[in-house]
Symmetry: C2
Subunit: 195 residues, 2 copies
């Protein structure tokens, strides 16, 4: 198996999936990797809701499209939200790319480390998935819609607690593309040294 450095280099956002479900043993290994992430004060309060039921996936897909389609945006709106709203108004918006597994990450409302802790969980899961040949992509739409009453009601019916806020999510599945895990040379994330 690859070293962690190979895995980090090969992790890419995958946005086209084959329909077959992620093997159970792989899913469990990905979840265990996420649950082992560090957290502020060792709180470990990230809650992962693993949605695989086709009816629930279809309901979330339709609901997100409907709620985004109602939203008004302007040039001050974050560009990814603008894109989601525009795609939803056009119709046919697949916010988790028809992946067979959608993981919703949540954490305690009002907890200052909620986003950071859950991000560590999700990053561990994306790396573990990459190591196993499972494609992943961070899914932020349910986080953006966290205060939408219809979306919250649907998520609470799936296991979200009233005192939890959606912090992020992941699409998981086998990539359609044969070269989904090719390394990318990227710049950005600059470094300053004080020596």
């Amino acid at each position: 198996m690859d070293t962690i450095f190979d895995v980090i280099a090969r992790r890419r956002s995958v946005r086209a999936f084959r329909p077959e479900q992620v093997a159970e043993e792989q899913l469990q290994a990905i979840l265990a990797a996420g649950r082992a992430a560090p957290s502020g004060g060792d709180n470990r309060t990230t809650h992962l809701i693993v949605v695989q039921q086709p009816a629930a996936l279809a309901q979330l897909r339709d609901l997100v499209e409907r709620e985004f389609a109602k939203m008004d945006v302007d040039e001050h709106t974050y560009k990814s939200i603008r894109n989601s709203v525009a795609a939803s108004k056009r119709g046919g918006y697949e916010f988790f790319f028809r992946a067979p597994t959608l993981v919703v990450a949540a954490n305690r409302k009002g907890y200052g480390n909620a986003l950071a802790d859950s991000a560590c969980v999700l990053e561990n899961m994306m790396l573990a998935a990459t190591a196993l040949g499972v494609g992943s992509c961070w899914i932020n739409q349910l986080h953006w819609l966290d205060e939408n009453a219809a979306v919250r009601a649907a998520l609470c019916a799936l296991g979200l607690e009233e005192n939890e806020t959606v912090t992020g999510g992941l699409a998981l599945g086998y990539p359609k593309a044969a070269d989904a895990f090719r390394p990318a040379e990227k710049d950005g994330n600059p470094v300053t040294f004080v020596r």
Copy 2:
């Protein structure tokens, strides 16, 4: 070298360090791992300030203790901040455990994914450090003090940009304890399945 699953299992927060500096090649590998993390809209705007200069480290240590010692807290204050304030009022507060390297992570002010993106960068760095035998611990104190004028001025002198907010940080160094990377069995971070 270990697989990513071994590395994730062995990553532990290290809070006691040997004084020698992290080898340059290892530091560069850890930074490269962090910079390869995913980010919202592929923005890659996490800025890592790597502080190794002894005078700068000592200045930050003293400043954080002084500013926390001025703070009033009550039972509603987040417990880790309460602990930092109490330790600072007592004196001798080592917020980065005298590690030879302190990494300050920052991101754009007002960017909704700032905390999540930087957390993915820092988690990659903690995993890479673990794989190389370098101890790490998330350091949140400069994030908590991000709006403190004296702390901001000190950080801006080290390279923080005016339009950046501190999102987190890391202590890095070789662990004092021989068993610093033993795996821990932990619960928490619960999972709900919808199938």
